[in-house]
């Protein structure tokens, strides 16, 4: 991958605030977080900590552009041009471009597309970047093998897979590219010990290659194995102030 200097910030979150206004509940406003600020550099694995409901997943979703922000900036280093781009403006084309090249996301649950095989689900991010379908499929197969997904499943759509199988497809899809920033939302939640260890090894390889990872890991052994720093999200909680 285009490697960035250790001192180069790859992700910089500044003064981000988020609340939900529920119009179907009479306009009730639920504050989530305020003044969120942190920075990620190459090779860092920053873990978002704090109790359930404190806003960890909301922060990940904002950083991926999936949730809008009320205030603040989310600067992502553009892999191609090397400049920081503000993903928080919500401009769809900027967000899509950053997602294709610069920021990846492994969600907790795979959103299965009908009739698309596991292998194609995993290969798709490579195809989107212009890699030939055959070469992409070959790399996808290697990835799935490493995660011990039975080969008989490669050609099947993941809709009927078990929770752990779906999650491995999702991980393979997220790890197949070399996005400089990777967001992980509980990637090992439904995995057995063997596969959990595979994922830990894969995360370490990413870090060694200079990827910056922002994640949520409730599983303490995994967290201890990969985290280089904790960010306590309780410090950004907007709930007390409400």
């Amino acid at each position: 991958m285009t490697s960035f200097d250790k001192g180069t910030a790859l992700l910089q979150v500044e003064g981000v605030a988020k609340s939900f206004t529920m119009h179907l509940r009479g306009g009730l406003t639920l504050p989530v977080v305020a003044n969120v600020a942190f920075t990620l550099h190459p090779g860092e694995c920053v873990v978002l900590g704090g109790p359930s409901g404190v806003g960890k997943s909301s922060i990940l979703r904002m950083v991926y552009g999936n949730y809008a922000v009320d205030a603040g900036r989310i600067l992502v280093r553009d892999r191609k041009q090397g400049a920081m781009q503000d993903l928080a403006t919500g401009d769809p084309r900027t967000v899509l471009e950053l997602r294709r090249d610069s920021i990846g996301y492994v969600s907790q649950f795979l959103r299965a597309v009908p009739r698309v095989s596991a292998l194609d689900v995993v290969a798709e991010p490579l195809v989107a970047r212009g890699i030939a379908r055959d070469a992409a499929a070959e790399r996808a197969a290697l990835m799935l093998k490493r995660l011990n997904l039975p080969e008989a499943l490669f050609g099947l759509p993941p809709a009927t897979f078990s929770g752990g199988e779906k999650q491995r497809v999702n991980i393979a899809r997220g790890f197949i590219t070399d996005h400089p920033v990777l967001l992980l939302d509980e990637p090992t939640a439904s995995l057995d010990a063997t596969n959990r260890d595979v994922v830990v090894a894969m995360i370490r390889e990413k870090l060694d290659a200079g990827t910056a990872i922002l994640g949520i890991f409730h599983d303490a052994p995994v967290r201890e194995a990969v985290a280089t720093r904790m960010v306590d999200v309780s410090a950004f909680s907007a709930r007390e102030a409400a």
């Binding site: 179907l24 979703r61 919500g90």
Partner: protein
Amino acid sequence: MSDPILSVRDLERRYGTFVGCTGISFDLWPGEVIAIVGESGSGKTTLLNCISARMERSSGEIRYRMRDGRFPDLAELGEAERRFLMRTDWGFVHQNPADGLRMRVSAGANVGERLMAVGQRHYGNIRRTAGDWLERVEIAADRIDDKPVTFSGGMRQRLQIARNLVTHPRLIFMDEPTGGLDVSVQARVLDLLRALVADLGLSVVIVTHDLAVARLLSQRMIVMKGGRIVEQGLTDRVLDDPHHPYTQLLVASIPEN
């Protein structure tokens, strides 16, 4: 970054004093799929018909990037040039395949007719190309001489897609393309559309009331109510973090989004 292929500014269509749609502005870039969602009567089909030159607008601008790079308002084009666009550079996939097909001529002729409209005359070539397209939309080669009246709903819709794509259009308009199909058949048509749009790098404006269809096919979404755009943006952002009361209602109305 490239230039938009379609640009709409302050578009309005009135029916007497009734407003069909108003204040509509958006751009569409090459290779992009934009979904227009909203309930019946929200103005989404009026909007689609105006931008595809099937209906006169009352006011506003609609510009289209021609193959030679010009970016004229559709109103500046002569009738002949506009017809040529509709027959070659554009496609229109109707909800009811019968509106987009000729039901009493063969499947092969339905596809071949669009080729003849762009000047192809060699029967063998036309038939071969038609056959290739039937295969691409998963219609068995031995059905090429059958009339669409003998086809199932899903097959008719796939045939309509082939008829539209055979001339290698750059922009496709779709009006509820899976609206009239059984759920199991819908999945197949949607998957086919998804693959073709990606492989051919098509730009698409798709009208749908089905948020799952919008999520599957589009990168950007426009939500309409009462003839106006109430919310627009990245499709997954609009669906997962809707801001407008109407979008929140739409999203909350489906069982598990």
